[in-house]
């Protein structure tokens, strides 16, 4: 039996490894239009910072693929025939399959910009290996850069450019940084750190036009707020969307929404065809529809799709959300819910005076912990997850918070010396 996987990102590769673990006799092929070997997309910024080589981005030694019996093929899918059970690649090659997993990932979203047609050079994203090559090639000839986007990739690209001596302006559409993940107080800490670091931050504005010089290189960016920002590089980091364009025109397309529609077993509308990772739009048994575009979900979905394609019957359960990041040099950990909550959701905000160090405990209707946002120190997300699952009262969690610390030895963040306020998630202080 042949398992064909389209996409060698973390979802596709995890699917391949999981399927191999379940079935040693399975023939497995990984197709990629981007790279010969699986690489860590989340590490692109460290390559740009010159801290990792391209080869360092590969999570597995190259001999692993032969040993695991996973064949790698370069190519872009141009056709899918679910009845004949074949896939055609852009080179003309046709691959037969018995089970197919679509893990095509997500691509950068583009900002509608006036004057974009005249630009031949200087507008970049920061999602693919090709983007990294472009950014590196452009950096030496760039003095000033504008980065549009108030999420993780935006801050990463800004930090990298700044590291290479480029004067960077980060333009945020909203009035603060990363509003879907961070409440105003935490956002302000991160923005303050960016500014201290030397990155200029403009909030509440959007770019609407670009202009090119004679050579077609970006010369300036104009914003709705009336700003004219001279620059030689414009980074557009306003999020990603499922890469499913190619699937819209194939002979037998699976049902598509914003992504490839799958049920809770990650099955598409086509028999024996699965989808996982950033390209999948999951419809859970409860009728909830969601696209998760983070590394951890892609891996978790890859495990389920790989297992099911190899004969398993696992359902994908959306885990308690968690994420982490390094925002310039501020560690960030979140567990549980923080997005999509009513602004009046009560929270307990604990801050260290004068330092970018805080914890916020989000409270459910019964006073139980439903979410956690920590900045400035490391946290054991597993223990916090357990407390959320067990619906521990916020007051109890507050008193036992030290148990979830994950600090380096000799640093014991003094949790008893923090200012505490009870505030709603979004909006002014209610009581202290």
């Amino acid at each position: 039996m042949h398992l064909l996987i389209i996409g060698n990102g973390v979802a596709g590769v995890t699917a391949a490894m999981t399927a191999r673990k379940r079935d040693v006799s399975l023939e497995i092929t990984l197709v990629s239009d981007e790279s010969d070997y699986f690489f860590s997309r989340t590490a692109l910024m460290y390559a740009f910072l010159d801290r990792l080589s391209r080869r360092d981005l590969e999570p597995y030694e190259r001999k692993v693929w032969d040993r695991q019996g996973i064949r790698r093929v370069r190519g872009r899918v141009v056709d899918l025939d679910a009845e004949g059970r074949t896939v055609t690649l852009d080179g003309g090659a046709t691959l037969a399959w018995d089970r197919l997993i679509l893990a095509t990932g997500a691509g950068p979203r583009m900002l509608p910009l006036e004057g974009l047609d005249e630009i031949r050079e200087g507008v970049v994203h920061f999602v693919t290996l090709a983007d990294l090559d472009r950014c590196e090639a452009l950096t030496p000839s760039t003095q000033r850069a504008v980065v549009v986007g108030g999420g993780l990739i935006g801050i990463e690209l800004a930090e990298c450019l700044h590291h290479h001596g480029v004067a960077v302006t980060l333009v945020l559409r909203d009035d603060r940084y990363w509003p879907t993940a961070l409440p105003a107080e935490e956002s302000a800490m991160v923005v303050a750190r960016m500014r201290e670091h030397g990155i200029e931050v403009i909030a509440g504005d959007t770019a609407f036009a670009v202009a090119a010089d004679e050579a077609g290189r970006v010369r300036e960016v104009r914003t709705h707020g009336g700003r004219v920002l001279p620059c030689e590089m414009l980074g557009v980091c306003i999020g990603v969307e499922p890469r499913i364009e190619a699937l819209r025109t194939v002979r037998t397309a699976p049902a598509l929404g914003r992504g490839v529609l799958v049920d809770d077993h990650l099955r598409t509308s086509l028999p024996d065809v699965y989808a996982c990772g950033d390209c999948a739009e999951v419809e859970s048994a409860e009728g909830e529809r969601f696209i998760e575009t983070i590394w951890y979900s892609a891996r978790a979905q890859g495990e389920v799709a790989g297992e099911n394609a190899a004969g398993g019957t696992r359902a994908y359960r959306r885990p308690i959300f968690y994420n982490s990041a390094m925002l310039i040099d501020i560690p960030y950990t979140t567990v549980g819910r923080s997005a999509d909550l009513p602004p009046e959701t009560p929270t307990l905000l604990r801050r260290a005076p004068g330092r970018p160090l805080s914890q916020r405990l989000l409270e459910g209707p019964g006073g139980e912990l439903i979410g956690f946002i920590g900045l400035g120190s490391d946290w054991d997300h597993e223990l916090l997850e357990r407390w959320i699952r067990e619906q521990r009262p916020v007051a109890w969690v507050r008193d036992h918070l030290h148990r979830a610390r994950y600090d380096v030895e000799f640093r014991n963040v003094r949790l008893d010396r923090m200012d505490e306020v009870r505030v709603p998630l979004h909006g002014g202080e209610v009581s202290t």
Partner: protein, 391 residues
């Protein structure tokens, strides 16, 4: 590689096996050849000796003349041999290199208390027990003794031929420190108590050698070689020591005495001068900093075995790794840390010296050095039993 300034390019070049890195390698290796083998430069006979004399004359005589004056306290009467001066000068250069690298470490990792404490510890022990104390001991007519170096790293400390010279207190110390303290602390805190907190070899690697730590060989082939090599040297060290004890116990004039003498000479030449000095330090700019520690140090081999049985481990947060590879890249022992992190496995590797840089560079706070056997240790109190929080 997109560094634009000349300084940036040079820094990249010397840190990434460029031309300047090879030049530095040549310089360091030449220095070690001269240091260990360039003794009798007064009457060069062979071509090699003449080359050594030239090297020695060009690079070290002036330094040595300068060093000899104030390191030997200017007294020929204190009984200092010429070689003694040379080693004191070497110790001075070594200590200075560590202090400069240490200052850089303090600056670079000022936000990380583990790195600060660890760096302070190696610097303090280098300046005191590995530099000042031996000089003072010698000055006051006592045997020159390095309390921070233990058998089998300093293999002659358990060689019966030297017992009379060291005296019973130092010999007792050597036995106690090597055979009791080493395994005991290793069980409690892992190998790092010695390799990252005390040892001068590790101290140089983790200070002056820091810019080259990422050059260590990763991959399973290097790992296989490491296991073979490091335990091989340990066997040789133990066998040599056994031979020396045998020759001390057996009546004089037996064949064992000759073999013992031979092993002393060869161990000194190959392991001490060759592997720990010329190869171990000379290769910094090409092969990374801990080549001696990882592949050859018999002390590290013992501590590694102890570590596997002890409490130290690196804890991995479940499902938090993004496989970026910074931990593997900056592991000076060539451990593929990422392989464990992305597989959600806490781990103990014999070679891990507990420098803590993997945890420091991790952008997602996945890794943590710990000295506990159990995960999430809970204090069992009546309160925690009552409210169920012990669970």
């Amino acid at each position: 590689m997109i560094r634009q300034t000349i300084g940036g390019r040079l820094a990249h070049d010397i840190r990434n096996r460029g031309l300047t890195a090879w030049l530095l390698f040549g310089l360091l290796s030449g220095f070690y050849v001269v240091l260990y083998f360039g003794v009798d430069y007064g009457h060069p006979q062979t071509g090699v000796e003449r080359a050594q004399a030239w090297l020695y004359g060009t690079f070290t005589v002036h330094l040595d003349a300068f060093g000899a004056q104030w390191l030997s306290f200017g007294s020929a009467e204190s009984g200092l041999s010429y070689a003694g001066n040379r080693w004191t000068l070497y110790a001075l250069l070594y200590t200075l290199a560590m202090l400069v690298g240490g200052a850089w470490m303090f600056h670079r990792y000022r936000h990380n208390p583990y790195q600060m404490v660890r760096t302070f510890s190696v610097l303090f022990l280098q300046v005191s027990f590995a530099f000042s104390v031996p000089i003072l001991l010698k000055f006051f007519g006592h045997p020159e003794y390095y309390f921070s170096y233990l058998w089998p790293l300093k293999i002659e400390y358990l060689d019966p031929a030297h017992f009379e010279y060291f005296g019973e207190i130092l010999v007792l110390y050597a036995f106690f420190a090597s055979l009791v303290l080493t395994p005991l602390l290793g069980l409690l805190w892992g190998k790092r108590w010695y390799c990252s907190w005390v040892c001068g070899c590790g101290g140089l690697a983790n200070t002056a050698g820091e810019p080259w730590r990422h050059l260590s060989q990763k991959g399973s082939t290097a790992w296989r070689f490491e296991k073979f090599a490091v335990h091989g040297v340990l066997l040789i060290a133990v066998a040599s020591t056994a031979l020396w004890f045998a020759s001390a116990l057996l009546p004089e004039g037996s064949a064992v005495g000759g073999w013992a003498e031979g092993t002393r000479r060869w161990y000194g030449l190959v392991v001490v001068a060759g592997l720990s000095g010329a190869v171990g330090t000379g290769l910094y700019p090409i092969g990374g900093t801990r080549i001696w520690c990882r592949y050859f140090c018999p002390m590290a081999a013992i501590l590694g075995l102890v570590q596997k049985a002890g409490r130290f481990r690196i804890r991995v947060k479940r499902n938090m790794c993004i496989s970026c590879g910074l931990c593997s890249k900056y592991c000076e022992m060539g451990i593929d840390v990422r392989a464990y992190a992305q597989a959600n496995r806490d781990f103990v590797r014999a070679s891990c010296v507990g420098c803590g840089l993997c945890a420091e560079v991790c952008p997602r706070g996945v890794l943590r050095l710990e000295n506990v056997r159990r995960r999430d240790p809970q204090e069992l109190t009546l309160d925690s039993l009552a409210d169920g929080s012990w669970r």
